[in-house]
């Protein structure tokens, strides 16, 4: 894989606070190689490692995008939900930013039936059939529609299982990570000092609490995906 330039500079990452970890008491000892120091009761991750891993992850993502693989970005923390949605829309990927319903991937056939229902409801809404039904039915269908829109809105363009999954916080999205592991889907995970780096395939030690740091990492990955797509368009 060719290594490209991804505009990762360490000062920018320090300003966003990527190197901060969680409190000292909550660490996972498997993160010991990635922790460089302990300051004021907080672990500090090694920023060069993070930068290197991030650039390698971007290379991988670029490579995959240029081969037209499908991505899925999962981030359900309410701080990060908005930026996950926007980042995914920018990169033209699928995303899950409200609660990750158990079995989205492992029970894909059931998810497909739900998506079909979603699509039928949308069609009905567009053709205006909902206004011709009695009020009670129409209200019920509209509620279903909003329900499906919040939970499945980001994956409505997904035709099959994704090829790479990007997970924002490992503690929060443990179910999502486990699903990907059972199915054998490679995952990129943003790890903090209280997470297990051996679970995901690609783990990037960052700070998952600060919105700025999540946005920075997502920015780089989204940039890589966009570049991959455009390189596919240039030479398929």
């Amino acid at each position: 894989m060719i290594r490209r330039y991804w505009n990762i500079n360490l000062e920018e990452m320090m300003k966003a606070g990527v190197h901060f970890g969680h409190g000292t008491r909550k660490w996972n000892p498997r993160m010991a190689p990635y922790i460089s120091a302990k300051r004021k009761g907080i672990h500090i991750t090694n920023l060069t490692r993070t930068a290197r891993f991030l650039s390698e992850a971007c290379d991988l993502v670029f490579d995959a995008a240029s081969r037209r693989k499908q991505f899925l970005i999962v981030g359900t923390k309410n701080k990060a939900a908005d930026s996950v949605a926007r980042a995914a829309i920018r990169a033209r990927c699928h995303y899950v930013n409200k609660k990750w319903l158990g079995g989205i991937l492992t029970n894909w056939s059931t998810t497909e039936t739900r998506l079909q229902k979603f699509r039928d409801l949308r069609m009905e809404q567009k053709t205006g059939r909902l206004n011709r039904l009695p009020k009670g039915d129409a209200a019920r269908l509209k509620r279903q529609l909003t329900h499906l829109q919040t939970y499945l809105g980001g994956i409505k363009y997904m035709t099959g299982l994704p090829d790479i999954v990007i997970i924002v916080d490992q503690q929060e999205e443990y179910t999502a990570l486990r699903e990907c592991m059972t199915l054998g889907i490679p995952t990129i995970c943003l790890i903090d000092t209280n997470c297990d780096p051996d679970l995901a395939d690609i783990s990037i030690p960052t700070n998952d609490d600060a919105i700025a740091s999540i946005r920075l990492i997502l920015n780089k990955l989204v940039f890589a995906i966009c570049e991959g797509h455009s390189s596919y368009i240039r030479n398929p």
């Binding site: 894989m1 990635y34 390698e56 699509r119 039928d120 363009y157 035709t159 997502l218």
Partner: protein, 305 residues
């Protein structure tokens, strides 16, 4: 963690024989009545008969698999190209209307499940793909399935759950699935009808398939023991012409694997499911001589001394 064995594609199916040898522990006068019911009225909950596994074998994660976090890892990015403009973050930059976003997504993925089509593609394109797997009513789900694996039922048992209203009866089927070339899987499935339970367990068995290391005389490379729960199984290779000398579940697993000469003994519990799983454990512990010699870096002759 790459995916292990994937279910092979829908090639021409070999003739499968579901030889039901139900060994029931409880005498069941109801059994004949159940078999006379037509199978079309099985539970229409569409459990998938095809196993979806992600095809991601060409994503190269070698850097991350081989990196040793204890080493000193340097960060030396290549120099930026001359006209590199740092791109805007995803928040800034031009705000796209919904239509532009929908058009862009549709270009990449087709209209999928979104319910609207801006580029003029057919909105119901996913129907044809989804309806195939969940067939309805007339032919049910394709019973005589696909991919060259033969199924054999080890045990069908009627199990009961006692609730306030009475007893709820289910059937639990244990099925061993294998092609005779060294791949076996053991699966369990429960349902209210025997046939549905057998189907479920076959699907389950196809999900956990292991490969049996075999020599050219269709036997094991060496002895091994495996245990699962209270069932302990001892497997021993045999010279050609011996056949499979083992009891019950162990024999079925070995036969489905294609092993022709072996000795096996169930030590400990005689529970069929646990013994089947214990043989799988025993088989997983075995190594081919070639691999061990390569790992240890010694010629194979040393291993036979």
């Amino acid at each position: 963690m790459a995916a292990t064995v994937t279910a092979s594609t829908l090639s021409s199916a070999a003739s499968l024989s579901i030889r039901t040898k139900p060994r029931l522990s409880i005498p069941k006068p109801i059994k004949s009545f159940l078999y006379s019911k037509s199978p079309q009225f099985l539970s229409l909950s569409s459990h998938p008969t095809t196993i979806t596994r992600a095809q991601s074998s060409d994503i190269d994660t070698s850097f991350f698999d081989n990196v040793n976090p204890e080493d000193v890892i340097v960060f030396d990015p290549p120099s930026p190209p001359e006209d590199f403009v740092p791109p805007p973050s995803f928040d800034e930059g031009p705000i796209e209307t919904e239509e532009e976003i929908a058009a862009a997504y549709e270009e990449l993925y087709g209209p999928a499940f979104s319910g609207e089509s801006i580029l003029g593609n057919d909105v119901y394109v996913m129907d044809s793909k989804v309806k195939k797997t969940t067939g309805f009513g007339s032919k049910g789900k394709k019973e005589k399935i696909r991919d060259g694996f033969e199924e054999r039922v080890v045990q069908v048992r009627r199990v009961t759950k006692v609730v306030k209203g009475g007893k709820q009866l289910h059937f639990r089927a244990i099925v061993v699935v294998g092609n005779k070339q060294g791949q076996v899987g053991v699966g369990v499935g429960k349902a209210k009808e025997v046939i549905a339970a057998v189907l479920k367990s076959a699907v389950n068995a196809r999900r956990n398939i292991v490969t049996v290391p075999m020599t050219k005389y269709s036997t094991f490379p060496h002895r091994s023991e495996g245990d699962y729960g209270a069932a302990k199984v001892m497997l021993r290779p045999a010279s050609p012409g011996t056949g499979v000398i083992a009891g019950g579940a162990v024999r079925i697993v070995l036969e489905m694997a294609g092993v022709e000469n072996a000795l096996g003994k169930q030590i400990g519990s005689k529970n069929a499911l646990n013994n089947a799983r214990a043989t799988v454990v025993a088989v997983l512990k075995m190594r081919q001589f070639r691999d061990v010699a390569r790992e240890r870096g010694i010629p194979m002759e040393e291993l036979w001394k």
